[in-house]
Amino acid sequence: MTSLTFVDDTVRQMSVHVLKANKFKTNTIVLQIHQDLREQTVTKTALLSLVLKRATEKYPTSQKLREHLDRLYGAVFDTDVIKKGERQILQLYLEVANERYLSDPAPLLAEGIQFLGEVIARPLTEGNGFFSRHVETEKETLKRKLESLVDDKIRYAAQRVTESMCHDEPYRFHPYGRKEDIDSITPEDLYEFYLHLVRTHPIDVYVVGDVDPEQVKTEIEKRIPLERKSVVNLNRTVILHPVSQAKEVIERMQVTQGKLNIGCRTQLSYADDEYVHLLMYNGILGGFPHSKLFINVREKASLAYYASSRLESHKGLLIIMSGIEIPNYQKAVDIMKEQMKMMRDGQISEQELKQTRATLSNQLREMMDHPRTMIDLHFNGIISGRHRTLEELLDEINRTRIEDIQRVSEKVAIDTIYFLRNHEQEGSSS
């Protein structure tokens, strides 16, 4: 599957990327607005994503809006905020059935683009602000979302290790922002912020499905009526961050399982030449069930159900994650450190290399079977400023040698060891 590529274009100072693929029974549209991840705007952006999906001028109540979507054969619509490196991305997502498979020939793609246009360009307002009652409700919703981050302990531990590592960098912020900043936001502030954001910040619009790129371009021009000004330049994410000494952070809570996360700096990101070597490093260390962490922490020592590692490719972090019996903390840390040392010593077998090439390549090729992951792969190129096609990635994977991985491993250093544990004292069992 090599022929699938996005057609790139510009409409109203928005970058438009269309991919024609007839294997899907729906059309997917994603609109992504970039900005710097910053204390002053992170919370407003999160709140904005919630307010925008409540209502528009044309569909002034949530009920009318939801009814309209349901009538479009259950179009799936959502908004979200994510971070990619030190950028916060506000996403609008819509997926709608391809009318080819329906007995009713409704023009669903055009309707879908029209709808996203209503949401982003014609929101429901009141005076000089957003409709205030919706803003009030969504402030409460956002607070609750932030309060509930602790509920999923696996994700909570991942967020906490990142926060501890990046305590003086913008990357510490959760894309949902900060609870203490919510109360002071007014409907007027938020509206002013919204206007500035959609007029002056980079926007990428993606469309994937059995579509005609020219028609898509025309529909976007007509149906997403944003008044765009010149587009601002955004900061580059800071990757280089030497580590002098590893920190240890212990947090106590009423839990039965301990969550051990080790945060490492890699000094490398998606834009670097050595990025694919880092992908291979992560794959051999902890990306797969044949990886060192799975084999040694889980299968050999029987210490954990999950033990893996993953990359934050746009920030240059590598995070090891596992859930363990609390008294096994030191044992697990030692085994994990030992695996990293083996990587540095080049104790990587030909089999591990071969397996990781094969499974990593497979993982990347599988991305071509889902509209959202196809978009992600392309969007990684936009964010980093370095485009790699699937073929280039696969080729680099195949050319990666053990020495390359060993060279990368010299750069990977433990920054923070984070442990979420129970309240009992050391030594007593849980």
């Binding site: 349901d70 059935a97 919703t141 302990k153 399982q257 797969f288 029987s302 397996q355 390549s361 497979n362």
Partner: protein
């Protein structure tokens, strides 16, 4: 090999039941990079009491189907994951209430991977030592779920809904129950439930059906399975009424969670009737409490729910239930208002226009699901074990009337079959 073409969906399915009883299905998906295959036995967490043909009645420890799933990956020569990784596949398995499924996806070496899948599932290897070692790993899996409030509130609800039925048992069992598992028990369950006649192989992706059938037939013929009578599964009589109407547990959470469940009476249903029951319930809940309903909007405006609020239904021949709920600042108020709202709807009935909108929505969502090879394989298998057919979803929806959903409303919404489960912040 039989070929079935679904005109509206533009999909072709190839089918054959082999001499040893194994059902094989292949759905080519051209244009897809990957192939996804599942090899599934009709054996899940609820099958803990059974009568193998020509043998004695057995009751096995809770969590054994899941334990067996874990242990299938370990062989005398090592871990099966190693083999899959060599062949560039991503392999996994899961155990549900009614099924154990082994699967892989790969974009390369598809036929080797398929052979690996079938061979490893048909070659059990259990020793005392490896069984004991697994208790540590599964113990951590159980602890992980103990700390997961969504899991706790869900199993809390099943425990309230059901008095006797084993669906209330945690799929992984407990640390205590898995302590009783040994290699002999595993072999016994394996022999009972892993005969090809109790299993289904589904392959979907960029494949050639003829080649797959030839390969699988040769593979199975080599293994010389003798025929086996179906196992008799024993289930207790479950009363109409719930076990207890409400329960609460305290955990370290930031926001309370509340689920409202209704147990349905499905005794004896299967085939298309069961599929229709499931679709009626999904449409019913979309109308009553989906995001465009008045009730949803009212709860949202009061700040009682957010977008974590949702509904789902589980419909199997031996049990069925609906679950509604999510995060909420006030579980008691949410439960009361949901109950009031659905009983109000019971008096008013459902209107034909609303039914039309929900039906079309469901059709659109079904088309969306068909983008996913994982959905196709897993759901096809589930429905096949219920003697119905995934590809009948759209026709059944098209034949449904709003009166069917009204009847479902009247039969499903019954006070004594409703229970509530809550997780509250500790302290």
């Amino acid at each position: 090999m039989k070929k079935i073409y679904y005109d509206q969906l533009d999909e072709t399915l190839y089918v054959e039941t082999l001499d040893n009883g194994l059902s094989v299905y292949v759905l080519p998906k051209h244009g897809f990079s990957k192939t996804y295959a599942t090899f599934t036995t009709r054996y899940g967490s609820i099958d803990h009491h059974f009568l193998p043909a020509g043998d004695q009645e057995v009751k096995v420890p809770d969590g054994i189907a899941h334990f067996l799933e874990h242990k299938m990956f370990e062989k005398e020569e090592g871990d099966v994951f190693t083999k899959f990784s060599n062949q560039g596949a991503s392999a996994n398995a899961f155990t549900s209430f009614t099924r154990t499924s082994y699967l892989f996806s790969s974009t390369d070496h598809v036929y080797e991977n398929l052979e690996t899948l079938v061979d490893f599932v048909q070659d059990p290897y259990f020793t005392e030592k490896t069984v004991e070692k697994e208790k540590g790993i599964i113990g951590q899996e159980i602890r992980m779920y103990q700390d997961n409030p969504d899991w706790r509130v869900f199993f809390g609800l099943l425990d309230n809904l059901y008095v006797h039925h084993p669906v209330k048992i945690d799929i992984a069992g407990t640390i205590e129950s898995i302590a009783d598992i040994d290699k002999d028990l595993l072999y016994r369950c394996y022999r009972t439930f892993y005969h090809p006649s109790n299993m289904l192989l589904f392959v979907v992706g960029s494949v050639e059906p003829e080649k797959i059938f030839t390969m699988i037939k040769e593979n199975q013929a080599r293994k010389g399975f003798s025929s086996q009578e179906p196992v008799k599964r024993l289930f207790p009589d479950e009363p109409e009424k719930v076990s207890k109407p409400k329960s609460e547990v305290e955990l370290h959470v930031g926001v309370p969670k509340c689920l409202i469940g209704i147990k349905d009476s499905v005794k004896g249903l299967n085939g298309e009737e069961l599929l229709k029951r499931e679709l009626e319930l999904l449409i019913l809940w979309d109308i009553l409490i989906g995001p465009r309903s008045g009730l949803y909007q009212d709860l949202y405006d009061q700040g009682l729910i957010d977008d974590s609020f949702s509904y789902d239904v589980t419909v199997e021949p031996e049990f069925a239930f609906s679950v509604i709920g999510g995060d909420t600042k006030d579980p008691d108020a949410l439960a009361t208002q949901v109950k009031d709202g659905i009983f109000r709807a019971l008096n008013q009935g459902i209107d034909a226009e609303e039914f039309e909108v929900s039906r079309n929505k469901k059709i659109g969502h079904f088309l969306r699901s068909l983008n996913s090879v994982e959905f196709i394989a897993n759901q096809f298998t589930k429905y096949r074990f219920q003697e119905s057919d995934l590809f009948r979803v759209i026709p059944v929806l098209e034949e449904m009337s709003h009166e069917d959903v009204n009847r479902r409303l009247r039969e499903h919404i019954v006070e004594e079959r409703l229970a509530v489960s809550v997780v509250k912040p500790a302290g």
